[in-house]
Symmetry: C2
Subunit: 259 residues, 2 copies
């Protein structure tokens, strides 16, 4: 049975401070919970409504959880809505232990042609979530969230990743100014995306970090000074800029097609 | 001076029914209002807070509006917040007359290698807005919103376009089943995006319509049956799918790089 103290903790997980304190985050919806179950993340508990537990999809998810000895607690619809961040949470959520990759740890997982994506103060949770999902599609080896980025375990980020948060290592709160020299020592070149550049993506297969900047201000001066070169996506129309997650998708697709 | 009836109309514009009834929509924020002023859309009125009117950027926007004989009304901060959909609306908004391109009209603006994007029930306003912005970047000739798409003049769509709503023709509420045969008669081939396909984008420059489907269900069967071929974006990692606006960006970039 859930105690009131438990409930209070679970509800507090919409706030970063409490996620950090309890080292837990909330995962909502069928697909994401299923991805959590198939991952090596530690799941503390699954929460489900009676309606979800009766549903055939629901039963199969709960059976999967039992196999890895994860407990499920039933919750009333009302209690569930108070917990969930989304309107359509499908009556299923998981309380999962946070996991933090470090930047040196990501660099250590070295392989020829390794590809990392780094974000400098990308503030919109929807963008960060979509970028993680896109990186997962294109087989990126790891993601570095610099300071000022939306929090990895923000419910909107987690939802936007569509389960990809469980697929690839993400380092958070990284001081890019201090860390980028480590990457260059490890043989990475750092490519800054910059709408004002006239250069396009190089067609070789060198180990690279693709760097994207804040939605309004781009990459900060300090970080840009540490990048090896600037690249841009050619424009054919009149829009002033591309959304940062679109730019990320376009460049990753281009890099992969060079292989 | 604004009458109470005016205020009531402007506030009602967050609802599609009233946008359709009054043939007006609300544009918020500096950049978007500036784009409206530089466009051939009819602006009924600009609304601004006292703080905005004192700001140098503000004064230059209002001067631009005066040149095209558009009136500006001052609003209190409080009244402005009640009107605006966003938290950070920057104290500036415009009431603009809606403009609707027709599908036959878009087909008539024919040119060799013309490129159109069609959406089948893309429901998320953020996606529709980002797709319009992305199409504008890549110089797409026109956009067709099929039934079930988020409304073009939904404030979230307008905001997501970052001003691109003023740059290219968008036909709304199009019955794709009835309309696609017209496009084929006009010499267009219709390319359906489909994660299950093994084909990639053809490298020629034929007139094309790129079709994207609903976030959860993809392109409907009826519409797919009217498409010439299915294409996919190769996957290198583990994500189950790409966000629809990312897929649109990747394919447009690829099409343009073939040129």
């Amino acid at each position: 049975m859930l105690t009131n103290a438990d409930r209070k903790i679970y509800r507090s997980l919409s706030v970063k401070k409490f996620r950090d304190e309890h080292r837990l985050f909330l995962v909502e919806g069928k697909r994401s919970v299923q991805e959590a179950i198939s991952s090596d993340f530690e799941i503390k508990l699954i929460l489900a409504t009676a309606a979800f537990l009766k549903d055939p999809d629901g039963r199969s998810i709960i059976a999967g959880a039992k196999k890895r000895k994860t407990k499920t607690e039933e919750m009333s619809e009302r209690e569930f809505s108070a917990l969930a961040d989304t309107v359509h949470a499908q009556g299923i959520a998981a309380i999962v232990e946070t996991k933090r990759a470090s930047f040196p740890g990501i660099l250590a997982r070295d392989r020829p042609g390794a590809l990392l994506v780094a974000l400098d103060a990308v503030a919109d949770p929807g963008n960060v979530g979509t970028i993680i999902r896109t990186c997962d599609w294109f087989g990126v080896d790891g993601i570095i969230l610099g300071e000022g980025c939306a929090d990895l375990y923000n419910p909107k980020v987690v939802r936007g990743t569509m389960g990809s948060v469980f697929h690839l290592p993400v380092a958070e709160g990284v001081n890019l100014e201090k860390s980028l020299p480590l990457a260059r020592d490890a043989g990475y070149r750092v490519l800054a995306t910059d709408a004002a550049s006239h250069d396009q993506l190089p067609a070789d297969q060198r180990k690279s970090i693709l760097m994207f900047g804040n939605e309004a201000h781009g990459i900060s001066k300090v970080v840009r000074a540490l990048c090896d070169r600037s690249i841009a996506i050619p424009r054919y129309g009149r829009a002033e800029s591309l959304n940062v997650s679109i730019a990320c998708g376009v460049l990753l697709a281009q890099l992969r097609s060079h292989a």
